[in-house]
């Protein structure tokens, strides 16, 4: 039971990061390997807002997410757009964007190391216990799961129930066809990239309420998010949420039943199973 609740909470946060990444990769076609750094930056911002201005981290999302949105919009326009224009085919763009975002990742990490140093950070926020079915859990975890669920539901409604969201999904299916039905593909791509950054940052501020973080942990989160995106199927919102929960549960189970040092092994086992049996993702359809 303990595993179920803790795993779901972890999965909820993973879901936001992975949703961010799936939008960036599925719609904007940029494999953003600096996404984990984006998350860590949001952790630091939430920490700073809470300790310096005592702003509640959950409400802090209202500040952090728009800032991250703007920052990622700028990254897309200034750094990624030239690569998109230059690339002759999808493969070239993939390689270029991977290398460029590696650069971005190291630069962000380097700057954070200089500013905050390498030590671990955490703060106390709502760390009183709540009793659920006879077990105690930190209120901060439950609150962040609630917030993550709310954000994911709003995103789902936006993508599947609004005209604008449908346009975003159209670009993810086929940029060429989308431009035929008068969708401004470059603008949509920039928007999706920025929205992805905003979501990840929201995930970061929630994560910071119950997780100990430091400047160099971003890459592990990027990796987990990438694996979730692939498990769920690129650009698939429901798949990403389900895969994130699965991963959260699997990790928590391995950490509490076998050894906390083997969480990545759990991640990789899931990843290999997906690669061998369903490389198109959990809900993905087989393509010819």
């Amino acid at each position: 039971m303990d595993i179920l609740v803790t795993g779901t909470v972890l999965g909820g946060t993973y879901a936001l990061i992975a949703l961010g990444l799936t939008l960036q990769y599925g719609v904007a076609r940029i494999m953003n390997l600096a996404n984990g750094e984006n998350l860590v930056l949001a952790c630091f911002c939430a920490f700073w807002l809470y300790t310096a201005a005592s702003i509640n981290p959950v409400l802090g999302i209202l500040i952090i997410a728009p800032v991250a949105f703007a920052l990622n919009w700028a990254i897309y326009v200034f750094a990624m757009k030239p690569l998109v224009d230059r690339a002759k085919n999808r493969g070239q763009l993939e390689i270029d964007s991977i290398l460029a975002t590696f650069g971005l990742m190291f630069i962000m990490q380097g700057v954070m190391l200089l500013v905050f140093g390498g030590q671990y950070f955490s703060y106390n926020f709502l760390s009183e216990p709540v009793r659920i079915l006879g077990e105690n859990y930190g209120l901060n975890r439950i609150v962040s799961l609630g917030a993550a669920t709310l954000i994911a539901v709003v995103l789902y409604l936006f993508l599947y129930r609004t005209r604008f969201g449908t346009a975003v999904r159209a670009v993810s299916v086929s940029p060429q066809s989308a431009s035929l039905v008068a969708i401004d593909v470059p603008r949509m791509s920039a928007f999706a990239f920025a929205l992805g950054g905003g979501l990840t940052a929201a995930g970061g501020s929630l994560l910071s309420t119950y997780y100990t973080f430091n400047s160099s942990m971003g890459v592990i989160f990027t990796m987990k998010a990438l694996i979730i995106v692939i498990m769920g199927g690129v650009g698939d919102v429901r798949g990403a949420v389900l895969a994130a929960l699965l991963l959260g549960l699997a990790e928590t189970a391995v950490a509490s039943l076998i050894d906390p040092g083997l969480t990545l092994a759990a991640t990789y086992t899931l990843f290999i199973l997906v690669l061998l049996f369903r490389p198109q993702g959990i809900f993905g359809r087989q393509t010819a």
């Binding site: 690569l83 993939e94 270029d96 290398l99 650069g103 971005l104 990796m223 692939i230 061998l276 490389p279």
Partner: protein, 322 residues
Amino acid sequence: MSLMNEKEQRIAAIALVLFGAAAMIPFADDGYYLSLCVNIVMYAVLCTAWTLFSGPTHYISLATAAFFGVGTYSVGLGIDTLPFPLLVAIAAVASGVLAGLVGLATLRLSGVYFVIFTLGLAELVRQVVTWLQVKFLGAVGLYVFTDLTEKHIFWMLLALAAVVYITGWLVNRSRLGFAMRIIGNDETVARHVGIDVARAKVILFMISGAFIGITGAILAPRFAYVEPPSAFNPVISFQVVIMALLGGTGRLWAPLLGVIPFTILFDRISASFPNHTSLLIGVAFMAIVYFLPRGVMGLIDDFRARHAKSRHAAAGVPEAAE
């Protein structure tokens, strides 16, 4: 078999002279400069082995640290019971097998899966090794005491470099190399002319991985104390990618053009500003993507093409198609 044309004989002679000269370095200095040269040769081997696979396939492999660590660990675990040369062979087999497994799982699919898988591979192996060590050996570190000094390591690496270059040259001449060139240009075409694309990629990846494992094994005596975080240091993977791309991946010796300047630069920066190394790696990646997409080799090729053009124009000869 050993038919070499005149140009190849000339290159072989130059290479022989250069290797001979390099082998004399330990007699000139056995302090700081030798240690710098060990780093240069080490990265030269790693980058060339990396390029063997990633050059023709355009797959960015970040598994270098994993193979390197497996090599180091093979030596660390067996140094008390087995002779060193045998351990180096074991290292080659172990990392070759690891490369084969990774290749079988990912190389049938698109390149992105491969990048993601290799990104975490070093960390995965590190976690598993740490867990196994704590569980079965009771301690995390291993001591590697040998009589091998810096200059022996240097000579072994130099010999390994020669083997890697010769292997690369042989692969280029073989059916496998020909198949890889076709795959690199157009995978669909390769499949249509009957090339087993996945098999060719896996074999090449195994060769590349085995060489990286041997490098790790040779360097184990230099560490003296081997523990998971230092053996599976993920930064090595990124440095190798940067250096190889900085030099260029089109030719066998092109990575060397990136290895030499970057190793020296990295050494300087990490000595005087140890906190700025991530920043340096980041800036280097950006510079390669935006300013040097084909590496230093690309610049040289452009310069040569322009030079040849102006010479032709001056002599009034119409430009020949290359």
